[in-house]
Each structure stands twice: as C-alpha cells, then as structure tokens.
C-alpha cells in the first residue's frame, strides 16, 4: 500500500448490473430524480432508486408527516405516488432526459398479485435495471398482511415477482423484525437476486404542548445517522447468512459511511434521509470516494465488500 497513485476503480456490480460507483440515492428521498437534477448532474451517480410506486395513485397520509428526531427524522408519507402507469408514461421519459444510468425501480404493493403486476409492467422499461421490492414500508396500513415481517409472505412476494421478470429482483427488508436473517433467507430461497436493507425503524414522537402524537399517522419511520449502526449490524448479519449481493441502506451521510457499510458486506450503498438535509450530498460523496480509496489502500472499491468479515476470520 502507499503506492496507489492511479485512479481507483469505483465500479461495482449488483447481480450482473454494473454501476460506475456504489452511490445510490435511496427510494423515497429522491422522488423520480427531477428535483435533484436542479442541483447537480445526476449522471455522476451509480444509480438511483425511485420513489416507492404502487398500482394505483396514492395521496399518502394526512399531514403532519415529518418530525425531527435526535440525529435523524421520522416520516410517515404513506407512499404518495402517481401510480405505476403514470410513472411509466410520464416519469420514465423525463428521467431519461436527465439520467442515462441504471434506475432501481422501487415497487410497492398491497397484495402478492399487485407486486407481480407492477413488475410485469416494468419489464419493457429498459432503464429500470433492478427491481427493488418494497415489502417494508412502515407507514401504510393495508388492512391485511405485513409482507416484510413474515418469512412466508416475503417468500411469496419474491417468488411471484421472480416469475414475471427477467430483471434482477432485490427485496427491500424492514429492520422491524426479531431476526432479519430469517426474512433474508426466505427471500433468497424464493429466488431473490439480492437484498436491500434496511428500511426505516418504526418510531414515534409526542408533542408536550398538545399532548398528541406529532405525526398525524401517529407512528413514522426513523431514518438518518441515528440508524446507521443498526443498519451496519443488520448488513453484517445478512452477509453472513445468505450469499446474495446486498445494497446497504440506513443513516449513511458521508463517504466513510459508504466504506463502512461495504466492509460490513454491502456491494453498493443507498443514501436516504441525508439527501434531504444536504441535496448535494451524493455528489460530494462520489467525489470523495477516490481519495478515501487511496487512504484505505484499495484499488477497487468493490474489494471492500465484506472485507471486515475476512479479517475477522484471519485472527
């Protein structure tokens, strides 16, 4: 080490999809990209994950939907989105004008059939390189099953989606379970090509003056730096449990966090809430990665993935 004067290779691969770097704005914090295109050229990103999209248009939850938290925030948006048909018709052509890289299509649903149907509709959308199946939103009340907390239900969604698409299927997992590796294994056994974790942690704030919950939805999802160590631990555990590529997500807010998440086992990293505080953050992180690789002595950033596990085994 110490002789690394050539430009490090930042590219990573997710289930056969090549990304020029591991930095991916996370679903729900980046819309369909348009707002951030006013801040920087989106083409510097490895990919971006669009807003969770359901079959029908959704208004989401009543306001207030946002609350401050120590080192983070709560949100209870409730999957506000224009619906899959409008997204394919209107957003996809718009995305193509500002971003030419791979898009990760985050797909929501309320039934197994809805997930499959939404994915089938995306089959011909060439730019959607990866399907990220959101079985983990804490803010919608389907009145039915919670797919992300039941291994059998998670496996059912995985298998149903797997049957209708040739695109890589990444299941996005919730941390609000006793053992995330159990859900991860169920998804892997049902044919998932990869996993994305974690979604937000279920939380709540109460207003001292009104003596009412701050959020109209009562509860919301905690994100931001507060959840980073939880996400690292879960990525670590899942990396040991299944042989699937992992997109690490949760509380990442600087280049060093990207590297830490990769050392724990992530092949690429999503950045969420931190974009809301600093809309330039993903650009700053991408620009900081070459120097960081130099400091860490890696020629290929992908060499970081899971490297903490190997070192531990060598002791």
């Amino acid at each position: 080490m110490g002789e690394l004067n050539k430009t490090p290779d930042l590219s990573v691969t997710l289930a056969g999809v090549r990304l020029k770097n591991p930095v991916i704005p996370a679903s729900g914090t980046f819309g369909y990209g348009r707002e951030y295109a006013e801040f920087y050229d989106l083409n510097l990103l490895g990919a971006f994950a669009w807003k969770g999209t359901t079959a029908q248009p959704r208004d989401g939850n009543p306001p207030p939907r946002i609350a401050e938290a120590p080192a983070g925030m709560l949100n209870a948006i409730g999957l506000q989105n224009p619906g899959i048909d409008a997204v394919i018709r209107e957003e996809v052509p718009r995305i193509a004008r500002t971003f030419q890289g791979p898009v990760i299509a985050n797909v929501g649903g309320f039934t197994v059939e809805e997930y499959a149907e939404n994915c089938r509709k995306l089959e011909d959308v060439e730019q959607c390189a990866i399907l990220e199946i959101n079985i983990s939103c804490p803010n919608v009340h389907a009145g039915g099953r919670n797919f992300g907390t039941d291994p059998k239900a998670a496996a059912e969604v995985t298998a149903a989606v797997r049957r209708v698409t040739r695109k890589p299927v990444f299941m996005k997992l919730t941390p609000n379970v006793a053992d995330i590796t159990e859900i991860a294994r169920a998804c892997a056994d049902a044919g998932a090509d990869g996993l994305c974790l974690i979604n937000t942690l279920l939380g709540m704030r109460v207003d001292l003056n009104t003596r009412r919950p701050v959020l109209a939805n009562r509860t919301g999802g905690l994100s931001g730096p507060a959840v980073f160590p939880v996400a690292v631990r879960m990525v670590w555990d899942v990396y040991e449990a299944v042989r699937l590529p992992i997109i690490g997500c949760g509380g990442v807010s600087r280049a060093e966090d990207v590297a830490e998440m990769m050392l724990a086992g992530a092949s690429a990293v999503e950045i969420g809430a931190a974009n809301l505080r600093d809309p330039y953050l993903c650009k700053r992180i991408v620009e900081a990665l070459p120097d960081l690789c130099g400091r860490l002595g890696v020629e290929r950033i992908s060499d970081l993935t899971g490297a903490a596990h190997e070192q531990e085994a060598n002791i």
Binding site: E38, G60, M73
Partner: protein, 248 residues
Amino acid sequence: MKASAFTLQRVRHLNADTVELTLSGDTSDIRAPGQFVNIALPGFFLRRPVSVCDWSDGTLTLLLRLAGAGTRQLAATPPGTALDVLSGLGNGFTPPGVPPERVILAGGGIGIAPLYGLAKALSRQGIRPVAALGFRDRAGLFYVDEFRAVCDTVLIATQDGSSGVRGQITDLLQQNVSRTYVYCCGPLPMLRAVYALPHLRGGQYSFEARMGCGFGACMGCSMPFRDGWRRICKDGPVFTREEIIWEN
C-alpha cells in the same frame, strides 16, 4: 435554488418571541417575495424553513418566531457565524392582476414577514398597498413602522384591543369590503377564516408546513388542493384562491 454560505450579521429582538435576522450572502436565487430559505442548524437534522422578509444584492432579512429549540438556537447564534442556507425555494407571490384599489395584504403574527417583501415590491411599482396586520396584543407588535414606510395604510388588530381594532384580521378585512383581492399569510386557522369571507373574490395564500427537504423531493409537506395533493415547499408555499378546496 441553491446552497449558499450566508453570514449572520445581526440579530435584532423585536419582541419577546420575535427576532429579525440580517444575513449577508448570495441572494441571486431569490426571485419573488413569498419565497423561503431553508437553514441548517448544528445539532438538528431537519433544516428550518423561514420566509424571505426582504432582500437586496448581498443582504437577506428574515423574521423568526422563537417557537422551539431550533429557532432559539438560531437566534442565539453569534453574528459573524456562517450559515448553511438553501436559498430561493418555493414559488412566491405573483402580481394580482386586478386594480391596486382592490388589493389588501393580510398577515397574522410571524405571517407578516413575506408580506413586507411583497409590500416593498409593490411600492417599487408605484402601488402603495393597504396592509392589515394581526397580533396577539400590543406587546406582540413588530415591524409596524417598517410596513408604514412602504404602505398607504396599515391597519392593526389585536386580540385584546390593546392596539388598533379589538378582534381578528377578518374584522379588518370586513371593514374594507371594496378590497376583494387578498394576499394572506398566517397560521392555518387564519387562512381558513380569511378564505371564508364572502366579499373576497381572489387572492394568494401562503401556507406553512413541517417540511422534510424544502425542495420537493420527500413529499413530507403535501396537502390536498383542487388538482390533487401538492407540495407546500415546491408547488407553493403560495397558492391561489382557485387552487384551494376548503368548503365555505
């Protein structure tokens, strides 16, 4: 909109819970009164959205109600401190499209802040507007002299009658029924009460909301309007009377 480094130049206490902040920095992204800036505070995750009260080349004036720990910290920041500001956010007010004698500005509490910038912009166009300002009581008054300098008439209402008319902003508007076009900013109940006045024909209403990002990405501040759920931060904060769907 863009991120700019501003420097806090001055904090002037206007009353017990209102301060005027003067910042220096690049204001070139501010295009219209009624827009807002979003300020990052050390130790707080979410930025604090604040209406633009006034601006010129290199100088930005904000009025801040000390509502919680974040705003109190901001008000206690020593002059000379650099602030991380997203500037030029939201749509802002547009010209009324009706004769000046039909127009009235109606602000409640800290909601008067963006109306000052509007009054100044109108006065530069040769229109000295009438402003109706509502406060809790005499001790809660602020910026009245500043409004007087750019307005034809400034009407005051206080809840206890300790200054101006005893009553609400709606009482002031009802005493001026020939003025049927309102620029309105204040707490939601005030916006609703003004909107419900039968003599009003048109207007622009500035909304406040808890925001996640302030630039349209997170859907945290969406509310229902005539053509669906809209983002207060990006599609607003100013909405026309025609866009609002409150029932009268």
